[in-house]
Each structure stands twice: as C-alpha cells, then as structure tokens.
Point group: C2
Chain length 305, copies 2
C-alpha cells in the first residue's frame, strides 16, 4: 500500500489555511516528497510525519511556491540525523538552484545527488526505491515544469501449489522467489515455476502546474490516483487559467475522465478560491471519484487486486 | 508611538506553535522587519499585517531560521505591488546570500539595496525612516551576527508661549519649526526661539543570537524595550547555552537589568522549551517588566513624556 499526505495545497502564495505545494508519499517506511513550498517543514511538524526516511525529492518546477521550503527542509533533515545522500530530481535549472541554496546553507551533513531534467522512465538504485518506476512528462507552464508518474511495482506472490506441481526442490524456493534461475540435478528451474501471475501495482500521477495538454491523458492513463492542479474553481476563470497556464476544476476533472484514472485529488488552489471544498459536489458531478484536497489530508491507495 | 509584532518566536527550527525569528516594527505607517525566518509571510497573513510599507529589512545573521523566509517575502512584496527599492541590512556575507537568492528568483519588480556589515550608527535616507537612528553591535554567536538598536527620534513641540515671548513674526513660525533659521528685519530667528525642550525618543534594542557579552549592556542602555533572545528556560541548560552561543532566561533578564531597560521581551525559544509562558513568574522575579513573547503578540511602545 502507498499513502500520500498533502502538506500544502495552496497555489501561488501561502494563505492562512493553506501552505504552498508539497506532498509526502509513504511507501514501506520510505518517504518521497513532491515539491517543497514554504512551510513544508512546519506542516510536517504540525502533522507529526517525522523527517526520517526521506531520500528522494521530486521538484516540478522552480517557482517559489514549489521550492522555497527546500532550504529549511534540507537543514531539518540534517538535524534529524540524515547522513545518507538525498536525491533531488527537477527540471532544467535545478542544479543551478541547488547550488545557489548551498551558498546560503553550507555544510550539510549528507550528500546531494541532483538529477536534472530526466527524460523518460527511471528508477532510483536504492532498496525499496528501486521498486518504483518514475516517469516524467514535460508540462505546459510559464517555466519548464515536470509531471511525475510513479509506478509502485508489486511482487508476484509465491505459489506453493505451483511449486509442488512443478516438482521444485524446497531448497530452491526462496531464491527462485527472489527472481534467480537455477540449473540443478540436470534441470532448469525458473522463478515462473513458483510464482503466481503478474499483479498490478499502484500508479500515482502528479501533475502541477500546467495547462491540460493532451499528453497528460496518456501519461496519467489508468492511474490509481491522479493528483492534479486545479487553480480556479469557477468556469468563468478560464481566461485566467489560459493566461497563467493553469487549469479550472472542470479541466482537471476532464483530464481524470480522459485518462481513466480511478481517483482524482484536486489541489493547488488559487488564493482567490477560499473554500474549494464547497465545489466537491460540482467536481463529483464531472468525475465521480474526486476529492478536494486540504492541508493534512492523507489518502491511502490500496493495491487493486 | 512605535509598535512591534512578533511574527515568529522560535529558535533553531519552526515548531507547530512557533514560526522562526521575525519581528515587524510599525512606525508612522512604515514597516521594518527584523529577521525573516521560514513562515514569515504566512505569519503576516495569519495576522493580517499586510505587505505594504516595508522598505527596510534588518537581518541579524545568515542562519536559516533567520533568513529562510526572505525569498518568499521578496516575492510577495512584488505581488503586493512594491516598486520602490527595498533596503536590506545584514552582517558580512549578506550580499552573497542575496545574490544567491536572486539566482532562485529572477525578475523582482523593485530594486534591492544591500548594506553589508555597517559599522556604528546610520540612518536610511528616506522620509520617515530618516527619523530613525540605527546602531549596530557585533554579537558573539557561531557566525557573524549583528544586534540592532533603533532610536526613533522625537520632534520638539512648538511653543506658542516661547514664540510670543521671543517676538517671533508669525510668518516664520512654520519654517522655524521645521528647523530653518532666518535673518529677517535685521534680526536672526532660530528654531530654538519657538521650540520646546528636547524630548526623549523611543529606543528599541533587538539582540539575537548571542552570548550575553558585556558590550550589550551599553548597547541596550536605557532601552524603552529590549527584545532579546532567551533560548533556554532552565538554568541547568547553561552548558548548552555556552556551547551553542545562546542565553538562558536568567542571563537575558540580567542583561535587561544591567542595561537599565524599561521593558524586556524574551523571544527565540528553543524547540525544547514547549511552554515558555510558564516561566513568566520566574522572569518577572528577575526583571519585573518582562514579557514572554509568542507568535502574534504586539507591544505598543509609547513615548515616555
């Protein structure tokens, strides 16, 4: 199971009830942050999420409401005794931005590996994180901006029935389950002989800030959860949405429909939208399984089978 | 009258109930910020202080809990239609830090004038701000750190009685009051001939982060209000205070006594001090007119006469 906590759902600038963009994904004791607006570490303390287990930060773009909390967070991770390297992924310019931050804060007690503008799918070569395949899409905003889609792979389960049926010696079971192949007593044993059928993983797609470009539909295809910006609640604000390269609630819901996502979490609300929760009936009428995010909401995303 | 609002009273890292160091001084419609920790602009929104009228920011030192909110604030000042230059004063390294911030946030719609490590007293040459004399003291912290003492000068009041006694023509009254001298009908008229005696201004001294060095006593001498760090409430934490270059509540109160300050506002509490307000009886026993600060407290500082 994966869960995601929205630490900040505010777009543009923080408002009294909404910190700036930041989401915290929990997976098997490891944490991934997507974006890190001002107040991220304050929100983490409010919610008691803890600072341990964060090894990966994905930044969508370099606007202040998405990165201004990073400097404070990097420092607090050090205070929380982080000593393993932190991987930061971001769009073009992220290396320059991190370098600038290091002028402001010298002497981090852990290393930083910055991955700039990765193309296509990649995985992070660390235990647990290597079970996640990360896909990247270039969005359409006023600056370079990346969408992230995380696929949490699921191991095939071990089938005693199948192992017995295939006469696999018990001494090989454990290693076959791990994916190794054996030649033993003149016979080849493969993982397929002890493993059940492939199981569907969890697909979490995170898209902000952008216009609703066609490519997002494929990118978010069949997402278990589609977390997407929804800057303006009112259809009448479409002009602002086009001008500022954002979306209306309706456009966000349309993308959820077209991508066949299972669940939609709307976030990144304009400061002018003071009570986005009042629009939940409206969004549900457009996309049934939609939720209006708020600071502190946690969504559990179970495996589908 | 001057007033000061504490936007953040937390030392080191923000805690759920305390943002990082930041104070907002109001004087005749103008605002001065001292320090700008993460969450400053959030606290300003919570308290509804507004972003207009800030032309001067004084930074004590370059630790994250004192500057990490500056980037977001600079951006929000631009959103609040600031177009006049902002003056930022800070210790050695402030120019480099601001330069780094400008890599992260290009295109501010107003200019920045950065004054690095000023020595002695200075004034800012802008209306209203030029009524304030700012004194600077090098403190004793783990990095270069400045204390600020602001003296809000008070105009002498106009005395009709004195003007009449000195036979000053009415046509000269206004300009004499402004400080001009006139030679008129073979006689010299000076401001002294229409102005009452000198009046005491308001002295606001702000000292954080530091050990209680002797020089602070003179620097804060006769302050109307002495705002001072008080990292540790417990006398037993003196070892930590010495090691981390901070103060205990007792040391802070001692400085208030020795400087003959009228009022003491204790701030910059360690995250380990969860309820500093519980120590107010203790601080009052050491320095009668002491107040334990909290986020959002506003203190009005009237003229003494």
């Amino acid at each position: 199971m994966v869960n995601i906590t929205m630490l900040g759902c505010g777009g543009n600038v923080p408002s009294p009830s909404r910190f700036c963009s930041c989401s915290l994904i929990n997976y098997k004791g490891k944490k991934i942050l997507i974006d890190c607006g001002e107040g991220t570490q304050i929100s983490m303390k409010n919610l008691g999420t803890g600072f341990k287990g964060i090894d990966l930060v994905l930044i969508t773009h370099l606007h202040g409401d998405h990165i201004n909390g990073l400097l404070g967070l990097l420092s607090s991770l050090g205070n929380a005794e982080k000593r393993d390297p932190l991987i930061i992924v971001g769009p073009k310019g992220i290396k320059r931005a991190i370098k600038a931050m290091m002028i402001l804060w010298e002497g981090l007690p852990y290393g930083l590996n910055v991955i700039e503008n990765p193309i296509g799918k990649f995985s992070v070569n660390m235990p647990i994180y290597n079970e996640i395949e990360i896909d990247v899409l270039e969005l359409e905003h006023s600056v370079e901006c990346l969408g992230y889609s995380l696929y949490f792979k699921r191991n095939r389960s071990f089938s005693v029935k199948k192992a017995l049926f295939n006469n696999v010696p018990k001494s090989l079971w454990k290693n076959l389950q791990k994916g190794q192949t054996f030649y033993y007593n003149n016979k080849t044993y493969t993982p397929d002989m002890v493993l059940d059928k492939e199981r569907k993983g969890i697909k979490l797609t995170y898209v902000t800030d952008t216009r609703p470009i066609k490519e997002i539909e494929t990118f978010a295809k069949d997402s278990s959860i589609f977390i997407c910006e929804a800057m303006y609640s009112d259809d009448m604000d479409i002009g602002k949405a086009v001008k500022n390269k954002h979306m209306t609630f309706r456009e966000t819901c349309n993308l959820a429909n077209k991508s066949n996502s299972k669940k939609l979490l709307l976030t990144h609300f304009s400061p002018s939208v003071s009570k986005p929760e009042l629009f939940e009936d409206f969004t549900k009428s457009l996309f049934k399984n939609s939720i209006i995010a708020y600071d502190g909401i946690t969504i559990e995303i179970p495996y589908e089978d």
